[in-house]
Amino acid sequence: MESHYFFPPASAYPLNRFLFALKSDTATRDRYVADPEAAVGEAGLDAGMRAALIAADRDRLIALGAHPYLVFMAQVRLSMAREPGTFEYF
């Protein structure tokens, strides 16, 4: 069985690049929150990648080569941006 955190295939570079921006770049995240279709449309992704991102389909994203941690933390950061009132800040 492949490791949980597997070598990122080169074919998935654009996808991982976008997930990295979603996680770590506020402007990209804000664009995605406002209009997911438009945000993924600007990122040089193929149709399968775009659809998996819009659906936030973790299994599909990982099957396409997305790094599991990037998928995870992109979702955490999106939920922090969308629903800041549901978190307790220390």
Binding site: S3, H4, F7, K23, S24, I62, P68, Y69, R77, F90
Partner: protein, 262 residues
């Protein structure tokens, strides 16, 4: 002067920014253990804090994936949600670590331009003494395979200790990571807490050197890829016996707070 204190601490972001899925009482118990570390850290009167952490694909992306790296800038800073943070870097010590580490055979990467990951920030948010100490961020690749082998991490920790032992500064080391967790995978809700408990028992007996014999595959299967930061620290602390200040396994994460009296 060498090493005056050593700790291993968790950094899971839910300890800083708690969503409703997390048990508040558990989070507060980890905070209480952090507070004890903060007290001990201040009492050890270090001049500088070396933080051994794993970048969570934040400072380094796929443009370059260093196995082992040192931040040698003037100030290390970053952000996580509403938190904006920055720490002065002890540049003389950081530079000596790079220079002497390379001389010792570790082909370290260095950077003066890396966003500091929350894995470094979260433990410092809770344990940094007042006034704050300068830090040296020490990077170990944990999430992007192929990661450095555990035996190599241990050897780097041993070399780091030799470098620190020859320095005038009083140095405290913190390893940030773990224990068992599987973010982003279908194992998220089933960490390997038996692995954690056996590990903590062996560390309490001063058997940290045994971690150098673990394989990368074993770490991955146990949800302990981040243990590489601890293994590096264990190379530096040697056979010192660990005191487990807290072990708080949540529904997805084994939060461990450990001290090595020096």
């Amino acid at each position: 002067m060498a090493l005056v204190a050593a700790f291993a601490l968790p950094h899971t972001p839910q300890l800083l920014v708690r969503p409703p899925t997390e048990d508040r009482e558990l989070v507060l118990r980890v905070h209480a253990a952090y507070a004890e570390v903060k007290r001990r850290l201040a009492a050890a009167r270090p001049d500088v804090l070396g933080v051994i952490g794993g970048d969570h694909i934040e400072g380094f992306f796929l443009n370059a994936v260093p196995a082992l790296a040192v931040f040698v800038g003037a100030r290390a800073s970053g952000e996580f949600g509403r938190y904006r943070y920055g720490f002065d870097v002890h540049e003389p010590l950081a530079r000596v670590i790079v220079e002497q580490g390379i001389e010792a055979g570790f082909d370290l990467t260095y950077s003066q331009d890396v966003r500091l990951d929350y894995a470094f920030y979260v433990p410092l948010h809770f344990t940094m003494p007042d006034p704050p100490l300068p830090i040296v961020p020490l990077y170990v690749n944990v999430y992007l395979p192929p990661q450095p082998a555990p035996h190599r991490c241990y050897a780097w920790g041993q070399a780091l200790r030799r470098i620190l032992d020859a320095r005038p500064e009083r140095v405290a080391l913190v390893a940030s990571g773990g224990l068992s967790h599987f973010p982003g995978t279908d194992r998220y809700a089933s960490p390997d807490y038996d692995f954690d408990r056996a590990l903590l028992a062996s560390l309490a007996e001063g058997r940290g050197a045994e971690t150098a014999r673990l394989t990368g595959d074993e770490l991955d299967k146990a949800g302990n890829v981040e243990l590489r930061t601890w293994i590096t620290l264990l190379g530096a602390v040697g056979a010192a016996r660990a005191q487990v200040l807290a072990y708080e396994p949540s529904w997805h994460h084994g939060n461990a707070v450990v001290a090595w009296p020096m």
